[in-house]
Amino acid sequence: MDLGLNEEQEMLKKSAREFLVKECPKKLVRELDESETGLSKDLWKKMAGLGWMGLPFPEKYGGNGGSLLDLTVLLDEMGYNIVPGPFFSSVVLAGLTLLAAGSEKQKETYLSKICSGDMIMTLALTGVEGTYSPASLDTEAKASGKDYVLNGTKMFVPDANVADYLLVVARTKKSSDPEDGVSIFLVDAKNAGLKVTLLKTLARDKLCEVSFNDVKVPAENLVGKLNGGWPVIKSILRKATVCKSAEMVGGAQASLDMAVSYAKERVQFNRPIGAFQAIQHYCANMVTDVDGSRFITYKAAWTESEGLPADMEVSMAKAWTSDAFKRVAVLAHQIFGAIGFTMDHDMHLYFRRAKAGEIVYGDADYHRENVAVQLGL
């Protein structure tokens, strides 16, 4: 057993913390939250310069050859500081999909640009019902000569408003088994039949409605096997789930740290409020939640990273972390009191993200049911 980070991971963590404090202050986070794009090109370039976009990809595509576990270490820190922008979409959702299923040529052409930060990509998965079940996939792709023609609407596509390309998951065959007949297509965001509408959300993350109206896609843009896309998506969803959990762990840790330091400063009734037992016990519950979330998430990340069966671990991590981050963020707000309820304060930035993180890739109920299935129930 080795339950600590290795030296490179510790260094990555430390340097990410320092970089983000400096380069991604909360003022910028707030501006990007309120902006249409959510993207700071300057910050994006600097992150690319640090090799973050290439972290989990092989060196031959310009990546750093890191593991999924390395990526979660970085995401933990990105969650700690909050980094708006399409990193998760481009690297986790699109990049890992291309890596898993793309042809050599696709990887050379596109993955290398993702690694360099020159291309932003995202994954358009959930249909109008907003669920992750393959049965609910309602965008269709029909073969037409050398092309495929896509029709349908995708909901909650992250960062489609700034993406250069979209990986679109579409049904290419009707089948009694909903997992059969699903394919993935690389679609140029500039395609005329594609309409992207930014959705206004609680977390002010850039989720989009994307409609496809006779969108023509050349056959060479099929990613992976025709009709064989679902196993790829399943695996990417698992990876995205654990990556999101890691990001949430970071957010929970930051919420705790902020609340504890405020509890030490804020004086009421002639003593720091952190001297009140109620506040102390809130903090004790928070740190317990944060540590539990972190270790269960790292176990899931390690398991998935090693290529071991990880369905149980990943669902456990997401179910627990979704609830735990929410509990932590609520208690942090309780400690901050009225000041935390203002737009100028940082706490709500985390509180919003706790909810967004809980919702995406299945909430706690969804993953508990997955755990029940894995338990053989």
């Binding site: 004086v267 737009m343 919702i359």
Partner: protein, 398 residues
């Protein structure tokens, strides 16, 4: 025991309902995003709407804004149970109604103010002519209200006020502040604090907006720079303000938007029945059924505590335990209603008001944020638990 409304109470209830349905200004209904229990999305604290003023005047004419006051002062001479019924209906429809002037200032003046003061202020309050804001909290005096630092120094017929208030809901759209300030920094607050009315137009007052996390401007910081307040605006004895304030806290007991909870829950119930996911209505999911049932039960708990409190007040019983209990129960409910709502709505729950696909106008999404204020405003949950333990159960502080 009889949990039914009496015939008269029922008639009154119908009268209020009809009035609201007939008279409620459309402009108000349109923009209403109030979340029950919360303090951040109350549109009356944002802007002053002439239509709403008119509506309040009509309520005032009926004596409804001050319905539990004695008739001699223009009150409605009605019972607290009737007031509770009124609030229930008003908040069910999200209508504007009572405010600081009718709920806090008026009753305090009636109890502690001079005859002169009553003559000057009470008639206007009864009619709904005045909007007051609450000038209690300060940057270093939140839960610890006794720590206020704003000073009021006597100077002839005036008090000269210097200092700062914060979290002042609707100060920028009100006429007067209902204010406490220290008259003697060395005395205990119970013996060195004045409670008085300050006109917003007095020179030296600067109001700065605070935008809350709902994105609303309802809170303010208010700065006082040598603000001269006539002494006749002081309630009762000069230095007894803190005592009056503590007593007045009891007047706020029944200010709970029970109807708001009921309404939003009905919305959610309807949504769960009508929305299909994975091939069946959400209402067929056993876990969702259980969650909705839990909410229904907690709303019922709040209702029994609510009417019990009103009934106790009508019977000269002192419901101080119940008041803190209702606050705890309803503020927890405020959060839970939003949280469960968002869980049920899945990814659609996060859509913000104004989004095309947002279920139920995005109210739950906003409410999810707004409910953070419920457990903090008007005495945090921790303060309520302290009160219950110490005042209610007699546990010692040390």
């Amino acid at each position: 025991m009889d949990f039914r409304l009496s015939e008269a109470e029922n008639k009154f209830r119908q009268e209020v309902e009809k009035f609201i349905l007939d008279e409620m200004p459309h402009s108000y209904v349109e923009k209403d995003l109030y979340w029950p229990g919360g303090y951040g999305a109350i549109s009356e604290f944002e802007v002053r709407d002439p239509e709403v003023e008119k509506f309040r005047h009509k309520m005032g004419e009926r004596g409804w804004l001050t319905m539990a006051w004695p008739k001699e002062y223009g009150g409605g001479g009605r019972s607290f149970v009737e007031q509770a019924i009124f609030f229930d209906i008003v908040s069910y429809y999200g209508a504007p109604g009572m405010d600081v002037s009718t709920l806090i200032s008026g009753p305090t003046i009636l109890r502690f103010g001079s005859e002169e003061m009553k003559q000057e202020w009470i008639p206007k309050i009864v009619k709904g002519d005045l909007k007051f804001w609450l000038a209690y909290s300060e940057p270093n005096a939140g839960s610890d209200l006794a720590a206020i630092q704003t000073r009021a120094v006597e100077d002839g017929d005036y008090l000269v006020v210097n200092g700062q208030k914060i979290w002042s809901s609707g100060a920028h759209v009100s006429d007067c502040g209902w204010m406490v300030a220290r008259t003697d920094m060395d005395a205990q607050p119970y013996k060195g604090t004045a409670l008085f009315i300050v006109d917003n137009k007095t020179p030296g007052i600067t109001i700065r907006p605070i935008i809350n996390i709902d994105g609303f401007h309802s809170f303010n910081e208010v700065f006082f720079d040598n603000v001269r307040v006539p002494k006749r605006n002081v309630v009762g004895e000069m230095n007894m303000g803190f005592y009056y304030l503590m007593v007045a806290l009891d007047f706020e007991r029944l200010v709970i938007s029970m109807g708001g909870f009921r309404r939003r829950f009905e919305d959610l119930l309807k949504y769960a029945g009508e929305t299909r996911r994975n091939g069946r209505p959400l209402s067929q999911d056993a876990r969702i059924r259980a969650k909705l049932a839990e909410l229904a039960i907690e709303i019922e708990i709040a209702y029994v505590l609510y009417y019990r409190t009103a009934w106790m007040m009508d019977n000269n019983l002192f419901p101080n335990i119940e008041a803190s209990e209702i606050k705890l129960v309803t503020t927890i409910l405020s959060r839970k209603l939003a949280d469960v709502g968002l869980e049920i709505m899945g990814p659609f729950g996060q859509l913000w008001p104004g989004s095309d696909h947002a279920p139920l106008k995005g109210r739950f999404s906003l409410g999810y944020l707004d409910s953070l204020s419920a457990v903090i405003g008007a005495g945090t949950s921790e303060i309520q638990r302290n009160i219950l333990a110490q005042r209610g159960l007699g546990l010692k502080r040390k």
